[in-house]
Each structure stands twice: as structure tokens, then as C-alpha cells.
């Protein structure tokens, strides 16, 4: 009996749950209508998103040339298609521990003011479409400086996506503490 119960559970696991059914139904109902399309990725276990229009490309980790006299979150520079661009460790930029470089680590090349910048992230997740009503303003999380780097919170049915204010991320003074 125990055996047959286990095999049944296994079979059921492959079937749609009520939840997935509802999700799929909601998606069909909204159709293709969406206001923003985001690239989502994880940094220190949290999901972040960047407007896809900002993205130039996603590259695998490559040798980064260290640059002296810059804040520690600037890992250095990398050459991308003949251009030399800064590579910013997003974990450190957000005030977290430095990134552990792993096979899944990627550099997101984002364009701010016509200039590409590299953001080092743990892992790229997927493309997510959001309607404006699914986005709320960035919460004021105390006086922490990192709050200013967020432009809002996106809410899908199953998770929160922290929307990154990319221009703010790549704007900093060189005198910032190491």
C-alpha cells in the first residue's frame, strides 16, 4: 500500500496544481498586455530586475583588470566589443558581502547615458513582464543608503522583484569609502 501511495504521489507531482492552473488562467486573461519587460537575476538570494531596454548584452565572467583608487565595489574594467567598461560588484554596491565568483556568475552590460557599464550578478533568472499596477514605489527602509538604488518593487503572483535604479548604481564619487 505504501508503495502504491508513493507512486501515486509521484504521478501527481507531474500534474498541474490548482495554483499553476490559476496562474495560467490569469496570464491568459491579461493576454500580452504588459508595461515593462524586465531581465531578472539574483543577488545574494534576492531577485532583482532591470528594464530590458537598458540591456546591451549578458556576458560570462572574464578576466577583470583591477583599477586602483576606486571604491571597492568597482571590481575593475573589462573589454567588451572593443570598449573598456567598468565592472561593478552589485553585491558590494548594495552593501552586502562580496560576490563569490561561480560558473553561474554573469556580467550584465547595461547602458546609461550611452555608455555601457558592467554589473556582476550571481545568476540570471528570466524575463518577466509586468503591468504598471504590479509595481509599487520603493519602500523607505530606514535611513540605509542602499534604498536610493531601488526604483520600485515589482510583484508577480509568486515573488517580489526589486527594481534596480541602474543610473544610481553607476553614479558614485571616487572618494567613496573602500
Amino acid at each position: 500500500v505504501a508503495d502504491s501511495a508513493d507512486s501515486l504521489r509521484e504521478k501527481l507531482a507531474g500534474l498541474a496544481t490548482e495554483e499553476t492552473y490559476l496562474n495560467a488562467y490569469a496570464r491568459r486573461r491579461t493576454g500580452d498586455r504588459y508595461d515593462r519587460e524586465l531581465i531578472t537575476f539574483t543577488v545574494a538570494g534576492e531577485t532583482y530586475g532591470i528594464d530590458i531596454a537598458r540591456m546591451q548584452e549578458i556576458i560570462k565572467l572574464r578576466p577583470i583588470t583591477e583599477v586602483p583608487r576606486v571604491p571597492a565595489f568597482v571590481k575593475g574594467v573589462v573589454a567588451v566589443r572593443g570598449q573598456v567598461i567598468p565592472a561593478i560588484d552589485l553585491r558590494m554596491r548594495l552593501g552586502l558581502a562580496p560576490a563569490e565568483l561561480a560558473p553561474a556568475t554573469r556580467i550584465l552590460v547595461c547602458v546609461v547615458d550611452d555608455e555601457p557599464h558592467g554589473l556582476i550578478v550571481d545568476r540570471v533568472a528570466s524575463v518577466v513582464r509586468l503591468r504598471n499596477e504590479q509595481v509599487e514605489a520603493a519602500p523607505a527602509l530606514g535611513a540605509g543608503g542602499e534604498v536610493t538604488l531601488l526604483s520600485g518593487i515589482g510583484r508577480t503572483d509568486d515573488k517580489l522583484i526589486i527594481l534596480l535604479d541602474v543610473p544610481a548604481v553607476v553614479t558614485f564619487s571616487l572618494e567613496e569609502t573602500k
Binding site: R62, P63, T65, E66, V67, P68, R69, V70, V74, V77, V78, A79, G82, Q83, V84, I85, P86, D113, E115, P116, H117, V170, T171, F172, L174
Partner: protein, 735 residues
């Protein structure tokens, strides 16, 4: 304003700017020719101006910039009147024309952002132009022509302008010559151009027209009227062609060739209707052989290269079309290229260099395979070919980027004119080395700093005329701007013979403003004190004048120069003047670099700022006041360890070597020994910017790709020298 695409607008703006620059250049040449007695403009220059303004009128009309069209139109009329001698040539007119250059410049600047300049400005200028054009010049000179023995048909076909020039030549006591030359139909264009060029060395071509007596179908005969101060033999020599008949046009009241001619005066009896007055006898070409044997081969006076765009190379044989000069048709053989396109070409070449590097690596591996020895050799040859072509290509692109400094120097002349007038000082600008070439980007970026230096020289340097005279100096102050190439660098110097800089006064101001403290000042040499002027917040005059502006000082100039990898030096003698020397690399696009290693990191140092490198041991390093120094040929060389400078953490597998290298870097008279672990070699590199986010990292000029996936930083030598040697202790960051 104008409904046109951005690209077309860009073309218009740059072509417009080019025309205005040309106009400025011509006016400056006219200004130089000014004598104490008055002004006598070179008619060719007035013509050039006229053509330029005419083109500008057409262009701006096409793009709907009405203000510009309006001013160009009125200006054109004035210039036309000047050509025809209807308006007297006075210094005031010249000033008025210079004003047009300013005004057009402002209009072009405004147009680039789709704006117009204030209408009242334009109206007031137009009114003054009209005023000037309406002023009558003496016109009582008509028909001095009738007493000359011109060939019959010539006078009737002269245009108004040509007639004016003919009269003007006679008025100035020049002799009129008639040349009769035959040209091959096929090569008349070049032949005529050559003739005109040669005549220009001795006189002025007034007109040329086809002669009636053509011999056959393949040649064409021209009669050319020339006005010259020279006599016939000199003309003959200048023409370098015995085939051309030369005849002096005699006066009808003249008895013989030997008679000394009195310059004809404009008070000659006026006679209307010239044609019947002239005897219809066709004058035979002068059969007398040239009395002076022509030295053969004649020393060809090298034609002076024209700094302004060459005149229309296609001469129009129809003299009546002369009033129609200056179309918008482009006559030059040049292409205008956005410098960024050259940058991307240069990038492509540098990527090719990386590919070439990859090929070389493969070749090295192949050379281990003895069974492929023939193929390897063949491939080696090909790779070498590729290398040579790459170098050609690189040099070609670099050459295209080079432009003469004249572009900037011409603008400076204008500033001197304007500012000296405003300040009531009398100043002469002497320019030398304007043909020295530099990368276009550098020339562009140099214009503001130079402008500022010149304004400083006028404002703070040159004294008022009365003070100068009291000091036993010439009343007119002199500012010299010069450029010369020295190896891979260009030195630009600006000097004045003004009052010089008082080091003690600089010290007082520096202490008062808290730029340095009293103690530091006490130990400084006069030269070090004068160099304090380059620090932020310094200005020797307490009262900022309108000319130099408030708050913008030499520190900004210095920063701008440093951005071009240049360094600026100042030397001044009280009472005698000040000299600023700017040392610049010829190009920023591609440089030779010394690749070095320090604490496991690789960097490139531009070779043009490396003086030498030497190997030393730790024992040879001494200290003076806590600073490491090395005794190099009896001179004390301040050392700076790159790993300390950049606070590099030394990896465990890279212990500090026992023997290290000192790279002596410096520009101008400043020297610094950079201590590094190892020298890797010399490479040609393309410097790439780090992007605006990291552009201001001190000590780093950019980055370059040494090979695929190996990017290294390029050190900013002027910056490092400055922060280590020149920055006074108070201003350095707490290390």
C-alpha cells in the same frame, strides 16, 4: 528654425564654420597689411571674402537660417562695393568685417541648438553695415583709361570689377602689360592657372579674354592684362616662357619707351565713350627680343602654399562670368569626416593587431613541427606582410587626424584684437610654427586653454601703454605664440613682454586663501612660488576683471592640458615677461608604451614620457626626509613605488623582488623615478577611455588591450608627476 535632418544640419554647421574660419583668416591677412599711412587691401583677399560670404548666403538660405542669410546678403553688398572701389578701405571697415566673424560664429553656435541670436544685435549690425556701404568714396577717377593705348576690343568687354581694378592699378602707378599667349585646347585649364600663378609673383591679373586671331582649332589665344610695379624683363623672367608675347600698354601721350612715366593722376580729362577714342590699329606683338637674357633654367620661385582653401581650380575663360563667383558648388577635393569614425577605424586596426598577435602565437607553435617547415615559412612571410600593411594603415589613419595648429592660432589673433581694444592696451601678436600639426582632437581641446592664457597675458601681463613707456619698454606690447615639434611631442609656447609675475605676491595670495600654509611658502623657490598659480583658487589680481572672468584660473587650464596628456610650465621674470610652455603628445590615438609589472599587475606607461629605465637593488635606495630617492648621475631622483602609490596588495606568490626597475618618467623639467618589479617590453597601444564613471581616477589615463582578454591600464604620467612632485604638502590627500 530649419526643418532638416540632423545630419544635413551638421554638415551645414561645419561647412558654415569652415567658411567663417576662412573669412577670419583672410581678414587677418588684410589686417597684417595695414600700414600707418592707411589700409590697402589685397584685392584677391577681398575677393576671397566676397566668395566666402556669398557661399554662406547660399547655404544659410538653403537651410532657412534667415538671420544669417540677411547678414551675409548685406555683407556681400558691402564687400562687392569694396571690390569695386565704391567704399573706401578704412580700418573701421575692417573692424566691421571682423565683427561679422563674431556674429556668424554666434549664429552658428545658436543654430546648432536650433536657436537664433538676439534680433536687435543683428539689426544694429545690419544698420551699421548699410551705413558703411552708403558712405561714398571718391569717384572722381573715371576714365583715366582713355589715354592708354589698349587693344581695341578689350575695354568694351571689361566687367565693372575688372575696370575698377584696371583703374586702381593705373592709379597706383603700376605699368600695364598685355600678354598674348597661346594655349593648347586640351590643357588650357592647367596652362592658364600656371600663367596666373606666375604673374601673381610680380603683379596682378586684371583680365584675360580670348583673342580674335586664333591660328588653328587646337590652340586658343588669350590676351591677358597685367598690372605690375616691375618692368618688362622681370615679367619675362617670372613667366618662364619665351613663347608668350609681352607688350607694355603705352600711354597715348607717351613718346618713347625710355621716357620716365609719371604716375597717371585721377585728374585726367574725362572722356565718355571710350571705343571711338581709340585708334583701331591692332597693335602688333612687340617684336623686340627680350633685352635681358633669360637665365635658363630660371630659378623657379616655389609657389607659396596657400593656407586658405585653394581657389577654384577650373578657370572660367568667359570673363563676363566673374560677377557670378561663389556658388555653393564644392570645389575642394576633400571629404569631411567625423573624428569618431576615425576612432572606430583605429579601433578596428587595433583589433587586427590583436589578431596578428594570435597568428604569431600559432606560428610559434607551428615552428615546433619539423614536418611543416615549408608551410611555416610561407605563413611567416604572409604574417610579416600583414604586419607591414597594418602599420601602413595605422600611420595612414593617424595622418588623416593631423591638422595644423593654424586653426587655433587664427582664433587667437581675433581674441587679441578684441581684448586689447577692450582693455585699452596696444598689443601685437606674433605667431610662428602655425603649420605644426597635431591630432585634431588635441587641437580642438587646446583652443580654450590657449584662449585663456592669452586673455591672462593681456589682462595681467601686458601693461598700459603709458606704464610701458615709463618703464622704458616699447609702447606696444608683444605676445608671441609659437609651436614646434620635438620628437613625438609638440611644444606650444605663449610668451609676453609684460610685467611678469611677482613670486612674493603669489605667496601672499596663496597663504591668504589657505591654498598653502606659511611654513610651506618659506621654503619655496621663486619658480615654485610662481607655479602655485596653477592651484585651484589662485588669481594674482584680487579684482577679477571682466576679461579673465572670476574663478576660472590657470588650474582649469592645467587640468585641460593634463587631460590631453600634456604638461604646462611657467617661467617669469619680473619686469620682463612671462612664458608658458605646453608640452603635448602629437596624437592620443595610438602610442608606444612600456609595459611593466608591479605586485602582480601589469600596466602600460606611454613611452613618450619615459626618459630611461634602470635596474637597481634595494640597497641603492636612500631616503631624504622620509622620501625614497636614488642618486642618478649626481642628481637626486625622487622615487615612488607604484605599489604604494596605488596601494596594491602584493599577492603571496609575488614577493618583492630583490632587483627592481626604476622607470624615469617626466615631462618638461620634472623627473620622477617609478619603482616597478619588472619590465615586460614595448608595445604599440590604442588608449581607450575608461568611460565617464571612471574617467577621473587619478593616475590612470585609460586602458588598452594587450591581447585577447588581456586589458591593462595606461598610467597618466603628468598626473603622477604632478601629485608626487608638484602638489604642495597641504593639498595632498592624507596618505
Amino acid at each position: 528654425v530649419a526643418d532638416t535632418s540632423d545630419k544635413a544640419l551638421g554638415e551645414f554647421l561645419s561647412e558654415g564654420q569652415e567658411i567663417v574660419d576662412g573669412l577670419n583668416h583672410n581678414l587677418l591677412q588684410m589686417d597684417e597689411a595695414r600700414t600707418p599711412q592707411g589700409v590697402q587691401f589685397d584685392p584677391e583677399l577681398v575677393n576671397e571674402c566676397f566668395r566666402g560670404v556669398h557661399s554662406l548666403k547660399g547655404l544659410s538660405g538653403l537651410f532657412g537660417f534667415e538671420q544669417m542669410t540677411q547678414v551675409a546678403h548685406t555683407l556681400e553688398s558691402l564687400l562687392d562695393s569694396m571690390r569695386l572701389g565704391r567704399v573706401a578701405q578704412t580700418p573701421e571697415i575692417l573692424d566691421l568685417l571682423f565683427e561679422a566673424v563674431e556674429l556668424f560664429g554666434q549664429m552658428i553656435a545658436a543654430a546648432s541648438s536650433g536657436k537664433e541670436i538676439a534680433a536687435e544685435k543683428v539689426m544694429s549690425y545690419l544698420a551699421r553695415l548699410d551705413d558703411a556701404a552708403g558712405r561714398d568714396s571718391d569717384t572722381g577717377e573715371q576714365d583715366a583709361l582713355s589715354c592708354f593705348d589698349f587693344p581695341p576690343n578689350i575695354l568694351s568687354v571689361l566687367t565693372e570689377y575688372e575696370e575698377h581694378r584696371l583703374l586702381e592699378n593705373i592709379k597706383q602707378g603700376r605699368t600695364i602689360f598685355q600678354l598674348h599667349a597661346a594655349f593648347d585646347l586640351m590643357s588650357i585649364d592647367t596652362g592658364l592657372e600656371q600663367l596666373k600663378d606666375r604673374v601673381k609673383t610680380v603683379g596682378e591679373v586684371i583680365t584675360y579674354l580670348p583673342s580674335a586671331d586664333s591660328i588653328d582649332d587646337t590652340t586658343i589665344q588669350l590676351d591677358v592684362l597685367v598690372g605690375s610695379m616691375s618692368q618688362l624683363p622681370a615679367i619675362r623672367r617670372a613667366l618662364q616662357d619665351d613663347e608668350i608675347d609681352i607688350r607694355r600698354v603705352k600711354r597715348t601721350d607717351e613718346e618713347s619707351e625710355q621716357q620716365v612715366e609719371a604716375p597717371p593722376t585721377p585728374t585726367l580729362p574725362r572722356t565718355r565713350g571710350r571705343e571711338p577714342d581709340l585708334a583701331p590699329d591692332p597693335v602688333p606683338p612687340d617684336p623686340t627680343p627680350d633685352p635681358v637674357p633669360t637665365p635658363d633654367p630660371a630659378p623657379v620661385p616655389a609657389p607659396v602654399p596657400d593656407p586658405v582653401p585653394a581657389p577654384d581650380p577650373v578657370p572660367d575663360p568667359d570673363p563676363t562670368s566673374h560677377d557670378d563667383l561663389g556658388t555653393i558648388r564644392s570645389v575642394s577635393q576633400t571629404v569631411r569626416v567625423d573624428i569618431r569614425k576615425l576612432d572606430s577605424l583605429m579601433n578596428a586596426v587595433s583589433e587586427l593587431n590583436i589578431v596578428h598577435g594570435g597568428l604569431t602565437t600559432v606560428l610559434e607553435r607551428l615552428s615546433q613541427r619539423f614536418d611543416l617547415i615549408d608551410e611555416t615559412r610561407a605563413l611567416t612571410r604572409e604574417v610579416r606582410q600583414l604586419e607591414r600593411r597594418l602599420i601602413d594603415m595605422q600611420n595612414g589613419i593617424l595622418e588623416v587626424r593631423m591638422v595644423p595648429l593654424r586653426q587655433v592660432f587664427d582664433k587667437l589673433s581675433r581674441v587679441v584684437r578684441k581684448v586689447s581694444r577692450e582693455s585699452g592696451k596696444e598689443i601685437r601678436l606674433e605667431v610662428s610654427g602655425a603649420d605644426t600639426e597635431l591630432d585634431k582632437l588635441i587641437v580642438e581641446e587646446l583652443s580654450d586653454p590657449l584662449m585663456h592664457i592669452i586673455r591672462n597675458a593681456i589682462d595681467h601681463g601686458i601693461e598700459m601703454p603709458s606704464i610701458r613707456e615709463a618703464a622704458g619698454k616699447p609702447r606696444v606690447g608683444t605676445i608671441r605664440v609659437g609651436a614646434r615639434q620635438q620628437g613625438s611631442r609638440v611644444l606650444v609656447t605663449v610668451s609676453d613682454d609684460g610685467s611678469g609675475i611677482d613670486p612674493r605676491r603669489v605667496a601672499d595670495v596663496a597663504v591668504n586663501r589657505g591654498v598653502v600654509d606659511q611654513g610651506a611658502v618659506a621654503d619655496m623657490t621663486p619658480s615654485e612660488l610662481q607655479n602655485l598659480l596653477f592651484l585651484p583658487g589662485m588669481s594674482t589680481r584680487e579684482v577679477a576683471t571682466e576679461l579673465s572672468g572670476r574663478g576660472v584660473g590657470l588650474d582649469v587650464v592645467k587640468t585641460n592640458i593634463a587631460r590631453l596628456s600634456g604638461i604646462i610650465d611657467l617661467s617669469s621674470t619680473r619686469g620682463e615677461g612671462t612664458e608658458l610652455t605646453i608640452t603635448l603628445p602629437i596624437t592620443l590615438a595610438i602610442i608606444q608604451a612600456l609595459v611593466i609589472e608591479s605586485a602582480g599587475r601589469t600596466y602600460a606607461i606611454p613611452l613618450n614620457s619615459v626618459l630611461e629605465s634602470l635596474m637597481i637593488t634595494a640597497a641603492e635606495i636612500q631616503t631624504v626626509e622620509g622620501r625614497e630617492v636614488y642618486s642618478l648621475r649626481n642628481h637626486t631622483l625622487v622615487l615612488s613605488r607604484l605599489e604604494h602609490l596605488f596601494r596594491l596588495e602584493r599577492p603571496a606568490d609575488k614577493p618583492r623582488p630583490h632587483k627592481m626597475f626604476v622607470v624615469v618618467i617626466g615631462l618638461a623639467q620634472h623627473r620622477l623615478g617609478l619603482v616597478v618589479d619588472d619590465l615586460v617590453g614595448e608595445r604599440d597601444v590604442v588608449i581607450k577611455p575608461l568611460g565617464s564613471t571612471l574617467a577621473d581616477v587619478p593616475g590612470i589615463a585609460g586602458a588598452t588591450e594587450l591581447s585577447h582578454q588581456e586589458t591593462v591600464l595606461v598610467l597618466d604620467v603628468p598626473g603622477l608627476v604632478e601629485e608626487t612632485l608638484l602638489r604642495p604638502p597641504a593639498a595632498t590627500e592624507a596618505a
